[in-house]
Amino acid sequence: MSDASLATLDGVTLRLGAREVLRDVSLSFFAGEVVALVGPNGAGKTSLLKLLAGLLPPTAGTVSIDARPLPTFTPNEIARRVAYLPQARAIHWPMTVRAIVALGRLPHHASGTASPARDAEIVTAAMAEMDITSFADRSVLALSGGEQARVLMARALAQQPRLLIADEPTAGLDLAHQLALMQTLRARAASGVTSIVAIHDLGLAARFAHRIVLLADGQIVAAGSAEEVLTPARITAVYGVDMLVTSVDGIPVFVPRSPTHSVAPTTPVGV
């Protein structure tokens, strides 16, 4: 991890319609770290990711990559640095898995920095990383939801970004592939790639992220290591859930016990 920040949010506020989605958020991301963005629904996780990817302009404040404000980049310049994996998994035509993954090479085509042989190599590697090589030539719409999610992640990897932004990439994946995906992000981090992932599974976040950013009501509640951020008291305050935080063989474990407000179970949860 180097000290020079790769991406920065500086006093960023985002208003969508009448609603203030993010309020005065300042954050820095460094090369080679995996950052998990956690928080309840509506906390502003997706908006923060879209701001970083340049898909939304901030109402106030500055978003920078490599210490340059985003508006000074062309869309293609951003695309060669930042990959964004949306939460909604849209695939509109029944193209082959390989063709979809190859879409990740588009920014490099447009800038003329690609060769077909190298593209094919990168695409093959990305498919292997996401364990989708066996159905590389099948129509992507014939796959299951989890398989499609892996195809789309492979597309983002094929983009070879320095900053990988993924909105709930583990949702819908089976357990093995959830772990594999997080391990892939760690492996990429070792070669300097920064990943910022919105995630609901606090266990995965605590186990694989270098840093956790806890967001609630459009503001940063805490940022730092899992031990610092995900304390039972803070989880209760933010999520309204009484959480048992422990660890098994050094792996952090989060067990929700009961909601403390809002959502009351109709029958007592047995222990």
């Binding site: 869309p75 990959a83 994996l85 082959t96 085509h109």
Partner: protein, 324 residues
Amino acid sequence: MKTTAFPMLCWLAIAVACAFVLSLSVGPGLIGLSGDAAARVLILREIRLPRALLGAAVGAALGLAGAALQGYLRNPLAEPGVIGVSGGAALGAVLAIHLGLAATLPAAIPLAGLLGAALATLLVVVLAGEGTGPVPLLLAGVAVSSLTSAAIALALTISGNPFAAAESVFWMMGSLADRSLPQAALAIPVIAAGMAMLFKLSRTLDALTLGEDAAQSLGIDLVIARRWLIAGVALSIGAATAVTGIIGFVGLVVPHLLRRHVGHAPGRLLLASALGGAALLLLADTLLRLVSPWLDIRIGVLTALLGAPFFTLLVVRMRQELAP
């Protein structure tokens, strides 16, 4: 199965070349040429050449614009007519003619056609709003299309022209019959310019396969892409419609027929659809002259007649694939 579209593109190009030659060699009810030497030269150069050139150019524009719109909207039912572009173009041309603009400036007809196409497209875009999905856009297109066809009928009726009905049929059903070289010379450069704009969208359309957010994150400027699309469709379809009227179905059916042969990639579909559209329109127009030299069957009627069975086949195949 590695899908390379190159062999198919070659076949399509050969088909266009053959259809072009065939179109030049077929006259009303006959293959070859009749008349004396002078008449043959006149017929070939002034009647059949502009017809074949326009058939190829207009067919290519229709196929390409259909493929581009289907890719952009991610809706396989889109075609220039569905979103009101060709109706707008026809209305523009009709108004230019009936307001006397065409008499002062020959280029007024294609210019007014593409202006009408642009205005109709903008109206549709404004009505539908951005990022609202295909249904509002198609509904807005239906609204604008009926508006333009009503306005065309109205303009022709109040013009007091005793041939208003015949003229309506021309604009609504299209025709390549007896178009002239000057008309072709006027329309084809504009069609080509619009098509060049649409070909630039190849990467954009591929990226849009993953939705607008992902496309943007792949470095696509969607605002600019939308402008290219609107300008490209307005220019190519506007100029085409201004000289041949509204020719339906080609823009809808050609991308459908070719999509699976390019691995469903919307970018690669562009060139294939342009070639396919040119071949289909040339062949349909040639067939028209052979089977009904004395009946004024409109090209739009024939393309729909030929297209319907293809579409039916597609539906049947789709049902078989969906069947449990």
